[in-house]
Amino acid sequence: MVVEKNLTMLNRAGMHLRPASKIVSALRDLECEVEITFDGRMANAKSIISLTQLLAPQHSVLGVTATGPDARRAMMALERLFREKFGEE
């Protein structure tokens, strides 16, 4: 199963270590691959390092593609994290 969606970084500080670690821990036990693209760069959403290299500031729109049996659940978890600004301002 493949699920695709665009998600917007709403938190003030953008994609730094802390949101990245929340994404990784949300996806850790899910059976799927998740790729996130921004500004011509692509990241593996299960790797903190990879996510931080996206360099996505506030208001940037990220393309998210989840592939695998848990793709839908992964997307739901991500949508929630993005919507709640990763618990930040």
């Binding site: 003030r12 270590l17 790797s47 500031p57």
Partner: protein, 607 residues
Amino acid sequence: MAPNDNNPNTILSGVASSSGIALGRAFHVDRNVIQVPHHRLAPGTTEHELERLESAFVLSRHQLHEARIKLTGGDHLQILDTHIAFLEDPQLERNIRAQVTAKMINAEWAVNEVINEVASVFDRSEDSYLRERRRDFEQISQRLLANLMGLHQDGIEHINEPVILVAHDLSPADMAHINREFILGILTDIGGQTSHTSILARALEIPAVVGLESITREVKTGDLLILDGFAGRVMLNPSLELIDEYDTRRRYHLQVETELRLTRDLPTVTADGATIQLSANIELPSEIVALRTNGLNRVGLFRSEFIFLIGTQTPDEEAQYHAYREVVEGLGPNGVTTIRTLDLGGDKLHHEASALHETNPAMGLRAIRLCLARRDLFRTQLRAILRTSAHGKVRIMFPMISGIEELREAKAELESMRRNLREENIPFDETCEVGIMIEVPSAALIADLLAREVNFFSIGTNDLIQYMLAIDRSNEHVNYLFTPAHPAILRAICSIIDAGHHAGISVAMCGEMAGDPDYVMFLVGLGIDELSMTPHNSLRIKRLLSRFTMEEARQVAQHALTLQTSSEVSDYVITYVRTHYPEEFWVPDWCEDGPCLTRDPEREPMI
């Protein structure tokens, strides 16, 4: 090395962040950027290098997990979790190992290369918020390097002799390792009154001066120092006379403390046995340590907004619940915790509120107004507080109520959160009391109406004075007019207390006036039920209370109410208490604003 190395009596000034005097040798907590050694590996030593790397990873994770156990909740915990998660990313270790093997370079070099590369993209960002986040990477990299090089980054926990800590800054993890037995004082280059280090130093009652800017450059481990946490000064390489002088001061303060501690477990009663509740104003859960040392088990004002301000993140329901619960459980079974709902906006920063660019923020969208405009924030907080009430006595207090409608609306939100919790079968205290701050003049004037709808009042004098007298306290041109002695303020306090008592509810005070020894008699004379103050003032107030009777206090209050000007009031009230109980106000001439002894140490030998 340092330019003032052996220069006697160099004095540095900073922010006096935690009171007390400390004399001792410096312990330099080395958080300077580590000089990374670069060398090529000899053939056949790669395996050994990879093992060193592996141990550094294991040790670093272990240290972070250890520090994590000692912290409870909040932003700092999240920072540690992030550091742990980063160190656990297999890609990180894999990349570093690949560098070691491919380039035949030492592990330190490889760590530095890889983490720098990962972090360097942040330098390219045009977004300043994102650029600032580079610091996380630096901290992780420094930890790995220190562990590779055996530099004991967490050296603080191994200190086993009395020292004064000197550091650029102390992290939450550092503060979790502070052992009061050996840490005489704390000095840092950066920080202010409300920085984490200051708050914890005060809670642990360790003298501290922060914001010294260059202390780490001026001082090295082993240097003799005097730390004056009252004046915010540090004396480097002091002369013998100066050491003598400060040792006298130190022993004086120690004696004051010791003497006050004698009253710690006594009940708070007037000379004729009337009980007055004393409680504490706090900002962070870590401050409950200070309550215990001062014999308090009530929080009269928990300024909940501080847990929103200390980090970059707005705490969610769980984070708030844990913070509140830590306070409630820390106070023990007879404790009472009064949690004031979010009092943000106005002078305090808040991204969304400040974005409004209000011309008059003190009268703008703040406190309960902000909460009613941002119901999501409000509901989350109310749920967190209600859930906490399952663990001990909790009281909810709404700030800045100006009229009945606002109060009813806030209570309706509370009721709907109660319904939600019931439906979800989540336990909470159904009898949890609800009160309001009386700090807006309109509320003071309709206190009789408000009293019918709440369980308690708490008078917030700082704002009440500011709003009643129309004086911005931070405006140096008018702040000389800011005084609790204005007859209008006295009348307001009197009528609020009367209105509360008439309706059968208790009336507390949690402004600065509540902890001011000069006004205690007056307040008690008007019938105040509870005084909430910074924990450190409470023992002194308790002792003063025990000296006079209710009847005497009533007479003072009644007479004060007949006076016509602020200066008549302050002259009378202050002169009365100071001349009738001079021992409670005696201070040595070098001690301008500190606590006081009941005796002149000149006449009686000091301990």
